[in-house]
Subunit: 139 residues, 3 copies
C-alpha cells in the first residue's frame, strides 16, 4: 500500500468564498502515482468546508445566500461561541451544512468523477491562512 | 490490496425519491471478495445524495417535507443557478443537507452496520439516468 | 494492509448531548499500530452523529439551539415517523445536518488534524445504549 499526504494553503481575501480546488487535487494524485485507492480531502480548520458540487457562479451565490439564511453572521451576539471574543459562530454552523471532507475514488490513476463533480474549498471565516489536507492511499 | 469498482444506474420517475440501495451494495461487496476494508458509495451527480438512515416510509416523507422547507423548489426564479436554463437550483442545496457519499467499514466480508443502518439513494432532480459509484478497497 | 475495528459504547443520560471522543479514537489508533492510512469513525445508530468541530461549550449550545430550530423535537405529532410509536423523528433529521461519519487521515501514527479539530459524538435521542464504530485500515 502506498500513501501520499499534502497540505494546500489558502488565504481568502473575503470572509466567505468558494474556490474550485479540483486542479490542485488532480496534481496531488499525479504526484502520488497511486492508480487504485481512495483520496480524502478535508478542511483542517473548523470554519471551512470541502465539498463537491457544480462550478457554476450562480449556484455559488445561491449557496452563500442560503447558508446566510440558515445561520446568519449577524447579530454576532446571537452565538454563545462569540462570547469567547470570536465573531465566527455562524461559520462553525455553515461548515456543518456543507461538510468537512470528501472521499473520492481513485480509479485507473484518475479522480473517479461523474460529469459535473468538482471539489470546492468553502471558506466561512476568511482573511487568514488556512489549510486543506489531501491524503491518498492505495496502489 | 484489492480494489473493486461498480456503477449503479437509476432512472427515477419522480422529481424526488428515496431508494434503498443496500441490497445492491451488498451484492457489490460479495462480487469484490474483499473481507476487510472500506466501501465508498457516492452519487456521481450533484443533484443527488447517498446517505444512511432508516428504511421507514413515514421518515422518508418527513425528509422530503423538511428538505422542501429548507430549500423549496419554487419559485424556480429564486435561484440564480436557474438562470442557466435549469430548474434544479433547489436540488443542489437539498443534496448538501443529505450529503454526497457514505463510507462503510467492511469487516469479515460484510457491511459493518448498526441495527437499522440502510444505504439510500436520494434523488432531487429525477426523470433522467443517473449513477452511483461503489468503490471498495481492502483485502 | 492492516485493519482494526472497535466499538465504542455510550449511554447518554440526556436526550441530546455532544461528547468529545477524540481521546478514545486516539487510543484505538495506538492499539491498531497503523502508521499510514485512513480512520473511519461512524455512528452505528441513525439518530446520532459523529462530526468534527471545536471543543467549546458555547458552540455546543449554539449547535443544540440551531438544530432544534431547524428540526424541532415538538410537536412530536409533526413527524410521520412518530406514528410508528417513536418520538425521535426530529433526531433523524438533526443527524443528517451533523453527519453520520468522519474519515480522518492517519499520518506518522497520529490522527492528522488541524489545530482545533476534535471528534464528537452527537446524541439526539439518548437515554439508551448506542455505539460508534472505529475502523482503521493502512500499514
Amino acid at each position: 500500500m502506498k500513501s501520499y499526504r499534502k497540505e494546500l494553503w489558502f488565504d481568502v481575501p473575503k470572509r466567505r468564498d468558494y474556490i474550485n480546488i479540483t486542479p490542485m487535487v488532480d496534481e496531488c494524485l499525479r504526484e502520488s502515482r497511486i492508480n487504485e485507492g481512495l483520496c480524502l480531502v478535508n478542511a483542517m480548520h473548523i470554519t471551512a468546508s470541502v465539498y463537491i458540487n457544480d462550478n457554476e457562479q450562480g449556484l455559488l451565490q445561491d449557496y452563500d445566500d442560503w447558508l446566510e439564511g440558515l445561520a446568519p453572521h449577524e447579530p454576532v451576539s446571537h452565538y454563545r461561541h462569540n462570547r469567547t471574543g470570536e465573531d465566527n459562530g455562524d461559520a462553525h454552523l455553515k461548515r456543518q451544512i456543507m461538510g468537512r471532507e470528501v472521499v473520492v475514488a481513485v480509479s485507473e490513476g484518475k479522480l473517479d468523477f461523474g460529469p459535473w463533480e468538482q471539489i470546492f474549498y468553502g471558506e466561512f471565516d476568511g482573511q487568514r491562512r488556512k489549510r486543506v489536507l489531501v491524503k491518498i492511499i492505495g496502489e
